[in-house]
Symmetry: C2
Subunit: 234 residues, 2 copies
């Protein structure tokens, strides 16, 4: 079996419902999947696991996929191993990573991805598919035991990538500045995924999909634009 | 002696030079200070300690204060203890905190603040004057051994505070959402300091100064606006 990942910048684009823009793609991606295991640990706005799972469940009803929250299983390791497909939703990346370590799920998730179980990530769920969570935009509201993540792809993702506004009077760092600072201390390449774009991973092939070009950052080089349908070579 | 802190949201406001808007205030704040100890560890854009110290040195020449970088001392603990005044500059908060722990300087800085040595912080340098660095906007580009910081004030700061743009089509979290998520897991009150504003601390008194109101976040309450010259009661 080959790795099969779909890593989206965001779950929701402006003026559209939850996962709506992705549904046609997900119908193909999750072809044959009856039960989808959902990981609600990133808790956007502190929402409960149950409430978050309900939102996801509603969205997947449209393509006849049944969603079950990982929090409902007593043996969560087994739930991951046996899943037809896995979806890790967005929220706070620190909270998500902390909980995955706390529940001892990082290793089994990693192995399950390698085994070929289809994995969907949005936002924080996409961040953790990279080598480390160190290009998250989130606040460190909890202290995870490590920043290392699944390494399903040999790069890091910056979700919700935002271009600098040349008319801005704000003096906080731009996203580009932050990622360049990451490269003072780290060598991992980073892809800035604009909202509405995603990475489609088949085995070792990583391809940019969606509506918008992405920004590609390599240590000691000027960032460049990557076009849609472009194969990303590390 | 009483605690004496000046904690600014930013070093630089739009259309003005480095620290320029603060200089009249700093002349009074650092009255009697001949040698200012500068901590360049936050390294904005990865700038070297020497280059960063030079920028700060140029700015303080205008008010006849001599600036010395902490990196030039062999005994950095003693340098902090003997300083007339201390300035911790902005940059990446994770890098700053990591280096302060690495050099074993967190404790001596804390004691020196309590002793009454005047402390100036901008951006990351202001963040670390709070109880924890967990309301930083920065990327976790290095992994510090702890998020606990100086606790010079019994609250946390969010520097470069940005109001949500109601016309935005971006689906990333707003600053307000991020701070509310912090309060799902933490009880520490948070002040969102807009650029051009600062906190002036005299002993136990914390007063908002500058041009703009600040945003005040308390766990389980709706955030409110705090006006300039307002005494902040925890």
């Amino acid at each position: 079996m080959m790795k099969k990942l779909l890593l989206a910048s965001t779950s929701t684009i402006y003026g559209s419902g939850y996962l709506e823009y992705l549904m046609p793609t997900l119908e193909t991606f999750f072809n044959g999947v009856k039960n989808l295991l959902f990981v609600p640990y990133a808790r956007p706005s502190g929402i409960s696991y149950g409430a978050y799972t309900k939102i996801v469940s509603e969205a997947f009803k449209k393509i006849d996929i049944n969603v079950v929250g990982i929090h409902t299983f007593s043996d969560k390791n087994k739930a991951v191993e046996n899943a037809d497909g896995i979806f890790v939703g967005g929220g706070n990346t620190f909270v998500l990573v902390n909980e995955l370590y706390d529940q001892d799920l990082m290793e089994v998730l990693k192995n399950t991805i390698v085994k070929g179980t289809p994995y969907l990530g949005t936002s924080a769920g996409s961040n953790i598919a990279g080598l480390t969570m160190q290009t998250t935009n989130d606040m460190p509201i909890v202290y995870p035991p490590s920043y290392n993540t699944l390494g399903g792809i040999p790069l890091n993702i910056n979700a919700h990538y935002l271009d600098s506004d040349p008319t801005s009077k704000h003096k906080g760092e731009t996203r580009e500045t932050r990622i360049k600072e990451f490269h003072i201390y780290n060598k991992i390449p980073v892809i800035g995924l604009r909202e509405g774009s995603w990475l489609q991973v088949d085995g070792d092939e990583v391809v940019l999909k969606g509506d918008l070009a992405a920004r590609w950052f390599v240590k000691d080089k000027e960032p460049i634009e990557i076009e849609i349908n472009h194969l990303i070579v590390i």
